[in-house]
């Protein structure tokens, strides 16, 4: 019998091991929900699976006669647009600043302290400022995501670029590369997979900022809907929405991971484990 340390599940065994806890959680929920409904058929806290399925049908596949839209679809599109724009601005800014601060000592000396200072401000504390400055519309929600993510992503990328071995930078210069070529052909390509990884880790906080912004001031969006129906204790809507958000988040994470593997095979050497 090998030590637990050396037991490595593979293939089907790995799949089963991953599924068991998920199934257990679902089973636990169904059991609890059934018990509550046996005691009180109109319980709203733990809705039955069939009640939630009904709400998925109503919210996701039926046009709301008042607005003429399918709520889940417009909410998803609105939220993804805000998230996408916020992430795009954050990523582009990170690429420019992170690369510059990591590679150029002059930029590190001038911008490093500012970025470090901004990074310690809790983004949610800046939300009122953003609402005052940018109004209650789309801009403030997108800026919240941008402000919340960028300082951390910049610091992460800058420290990664700064850790590229000096030997590589010297070697490139002995091959005739100047600052621009070192940045474009040595630092940038090596920074991109790290940037994608950093973006993957930032998806969680990005959703937090998105839902926060939508909860406080919005008239459409996944976060808006959840906080709206909370007033009626509509757990049969909230739970499917939360599940949908987690599905979207997982898909984005898998997408980014696949992109990195496809575009930068050298950054993902085959591992033994």
């Amino acid at each position: 019998m090998p030590r637990l340390l050396n037991v490595r599940p593979r293939g089907g065994g790995r799949l089963v091991l991953g599924l068991v806890p998920i199934l257990l959680v679902l089973l636990l929920y169904v059991t609890a929900s059934t018990a509550r409904h046996a005691a009180n058929p109109s319980d709203k806290i733990l809705p039955t699976v069939s009640a939630m399925a009904e709400q998925v049908r109503v919210m996701g596949f039926e046009v709301d006669p008042q607005t003429g839209d399918v709520p889940l679809v417009v909410d998803t599109l609105a939220s993804l647009k805000r998230l996408g724009l916020g992430l795009t601005y954050a990523t582009v800014t990170t690429l420019v600043l992170g690369l510059g601060i990591g590679l150029l000592p002059v930029m590190r000396a001038s911008l490093g302290p500012l970025v470090a200072a901004i990074a310690v401000i809790p983004p949610i504390a800046m939300l009122p400022i953003l609402f005052i400055v940018f109004g209650l519309g789309e801009t403030s929600k997108i800026v919240l995501i941008f402000v919340g993510l960028t300082p951390f992503m910049v610091r992460d990328l800058a420290s990664f670029v700064a850790s590229i071995p000096e030997e590589q930078l010297v070697k490139a210069q002995t091959l005739g590369a100047g600052t621009w070529l070192v940045a474009a052909r040595v630092a940038l390509p090596q920074a991109l997979p790290r940037l994608i990884e950093s973006l993957r880790f930032s998806l969680g906080p990005a959703w937090v900022f998105l839902i926060s912004g939508e909860a406080i001031a919005s008239d459409v969006g996944l976060g808006y809907r959840i906080f709206l129906v909370r007033r009626y204790l509509a757990m049969d809507v909230i739970l499917p929405y939360v599940a949908w958000i987690s599905i979207l988040a997982v898909l984005m994470d898998l997408g980014l991971s696949a992109l990195s593997r496809a575009a930068f095979p050298w950054a993902h050497p085959a591992r033994a484990r």
């Binding site: 590589q168 010297v170 210069q173 091959l175």
Partner: protein, 246 residues
């Protein structure tokens, strides 16, 4: 004419003296081995030639003109590690040097020929991570030679390799040196290697020591042996040097 010349070069960090009064000339076509105990300033010496550092006093000339304190294409280098770019294939690693000086030329054929010479002709499209340590160093050498530097700097190039692989590399670098008429400066820990490959061996160490303030005396070239003819065994000087440096 001397390719590289040091004139009374000092390197000081604050009141710590690392190198003092280093004066030497490196002739065209020489294979100079630089040996010395750890911490004696071998690396500082190489950093000076690379331009990663400027001397506090004295001057360094390359081809008669003052050396710019910045790495440049007139000096090629192979480090012990991290010499190659992990995100480029073997072929692209070598083509990079030509593309830096001339954007239009792809230099594919030149690069392939150079890779063939170092024995990597069959590994053009793999990434360096898939190569063994010895093959990575072969790649680093090909990469450095493609731009035809005036002087090739080797910083413990074979230090991390297995003994067998090391012997192959000795043969390779010796062949390339003869074939391309290179001028080579090699820093090494291995005194045997220094005498086997070099046409000249320079030992860098402190000439004087002050037990109360060891940092106040820097290192300099304490031994400088031109090796006229090479035979199979180690010359007498090597044994003496090994004893001195031990």
């Amino acid at each position: 004419m001397a390719v590289l010349s040091f004139r009374d070069v000092w390197v000081e960090y604050g009141d710590k003296i690392v190198l003092e009064k280093v004066s030497l000339d490196v002739e065209e076509g020489a294979f100079v081995s630089i040996v010395g105990p750890s911490g004696a300033g071998k690396s500082t010496f190489l950093r000076l030639v690379l331009g990663q550092e400027a001397p506090s006093r004295g001057r360094i000339d390359l081809d008669g003109a003052p050396l710019r304190a910045e790495p440049g294409p007139d000096r090629g280098v192979v480090f012990q590690r991290y010499s190659v770019f992990p995100h480029m294939t073997v072929l692209k690693n070598v083509m990079f040097g030509v593309q830096c000086s001339d954007r239009k030329r792809s230099a594919r054929d030149e690069a392939i020929e150079m890779l063939r010479q170092v024995g990597l002709g069959d590994n053009l499209d793999v990434y360096p991570a898939a190569l063994s340590g010895g093959m990575q160093q072969r790649l680093a050498i090909a990469q450095a030679l493609i731009t035809r530097p005036r002087i090739l700097l080797l910083d413990e190039p074979f230090g991390a390799l297995d003994p067998g692989v090391r012997l192959d590399m000795h043969e390779l670098i010796n062949g390339l040196w003869r074939e391309h008429g290179l001028t080579i400066l090699m820093v090494t820990h291995d005194i045997k290697e220094a005498f086997k490959l070099g046409t000249r061996v320079i030992a860098i160490d402190k000439r004087r020591r002050d037990p109360q303030a060891p940092h106040r005396y820097g290192s300099t070239a304490v031994y400088d042996f031109p090796l006229e003819k090479k035979d199979a065994g180690l010359p007498r000087e090597a044994h003496r040097l090994a004893q001195t440096l031990a």
